[in-house]
Symmetry: C2
Subunit: 330 residues, 2 copies
Amino acid sequence: MELASLPVALDAMGGDRAPGEIVAGALDAVHGGLPVVLVGPTDGRLGDVGGLEILPASEVIEMKDDPGRAVRTKKDSSLVRAAEAVRDGRASAMVSAGNTGATMASALLRMGRLPGVFRPCIATPLPVPGGSPTVLVDAGANADCQSEWLLQFARMGAAFYRARYGAERPKVALLSIGEESSKGSLLVKETHERLAAARGRFEFVGNVEGRDLLAGEADVVVTDGFTGNVALKALEGALRTFMTVLGGVMNATDETKAASEVLLPGLLEAAAPLDPESTGGAMLLGVKGVCIISHGSSSRRAIVNAIRVGHDLAARDLTGTLAASVAEGS
Amino acid sequence: MELASLPVALDAMGGDRAPGEIVAGALDAVHGGLPVVLVGPTDGRLGDVGGLEILPASEVIEMKDDPGRAVRTKKDSSLVRAAEAVRDGRASAMVSAGNTGATMASALLRMGRLPGVFRPCIATPLPVPGGSPTVLVDAGANADCQSEWLLQFARMGAAFYRARYGAERPKVALLSIGEESSKGSLLVKETHERLAAARGRFEFVGNVEGRDLLAGEADVVVTDGFTGNVALKALEGALRTFMTVLGGVMNATDETKAASEVLLPGLLEAAAPLDPESTGGAMLLGVKGVCIISHGSSSRRAIVNAIRVGHDLAARDLTGTLAASVAEGS
């Protein structure tokens, strides 16, 4: 595999904690045997990069920038240059914790869509305690969708699941507000029919509800990008609320603090799979290259995981697998 | 207030734990000074009702029944008779933990819509640790919506919030996938414009995201019934997952069990507001009467809370308040 020998292009200036945590993650990744090239300014702003190669990029796309405009006007930004590195065969994959919209736009405009893809979509692995993650597609790329796009999200989501987690025939479910095929929006009812009639390397297991997202009911859950993003962030918010409440109880008195110390090792172990930082971030499916969208708050550990996932999926030819899955439907 | 002296009509046969827990809840409510009339069979199926009045209804709408068909064909069902009791001035409010769709259909068909209401919607209070609940509208009545309906949901949600929690000018937010008005689906962008331009007894505070739902960012969060239901159930699922994980850690060894006992009182106190049973259930807004939709798994405690909320809101003339809020927009 040629791609396995190429480095992962890391947007050194993307993310709330860039460039410090990003560069630190790159160094950890290289230390762990993963090939990385930083993309960013060469004027010293990246600090000590420990001898890592830097692909030069003088501009920075900020979180607040309009994605489309930023990609058009900041042609020498770290984000755009990272996407170009994949396009030009200088990197196996790109990773950014920066502006999500601009990451999608860079990948779409510089790498281009895979043939036959209506719209690229975001696949986000959701943690399932005691099981493999469930992949949510679309987790936010397309706010308004058509049913044939959702069918294609299902195909691409299944291909991604296969490449990432190894199931031969992933179970695909449709997110709705009741298990019956008669329930849901017009879009969902139409999509249900398409999924039930579709042939391909996945098994359609019917509708699931919001409460099933963390229960491991399916390998892939398909929805439009608006609903998917709301659901994803609702889960994040619930987790944060619960942690805050639990933390308050644990720190209430000296007695509860002492009791909490007994529980802490088990809690940390149980919470590890729930930590979004451990999943390696979200993935843009449907472009000609591997593009990982990390959380804006990514730490060095999250960056290492994202680099590892990007490297592995490029080596396993995710892009070819996706192209084949899209062709299934034509 | 005439309505304050009328009993709440309780569907004795609705809910996973009916009739046992439902009747038990009715008896607790009466013991607490709340007037209740049971609606259900008089053939002894309700067991010992402790002398409570029963409005006779020989049929039962099951969870699996098609809502529209069930309401048309089971004219002597407890659910339909409960709605008729409100319509006929024999009860101040109705409460059911049964088939949600059939509860909505019964209320809509027997009580009728308030003048000017496009579509009734479901308002569900979400718990906010350390604060007042945030009311989510629509939490599941209308899977496909138009922006003018959403504006009306905002008006009715604000009126409900005012009647229930007492704020003079509730803060209304729109659920989206970014805070900027340019983010979201076409429906959301249109609704944002309508809300920003609307006058009425609420303050529009802009968009919120899924992660803000439990954070107390707004008094009322408006969305379509598909997104609202998915988000609500995602929160429920996350909570359940977290409780399962925590329970596993607490029960792992004798040592962790002992430590957990120290934390338990604080945990129970902190968890109480997160318990959906404490909020009294969801409310159907936009019909000519107070209709409470309790969770299918409602315990006697949930039923008592639902009866109390139904009684109080009828006494505070929720229906008149809603009618006035709808008229604001015309």
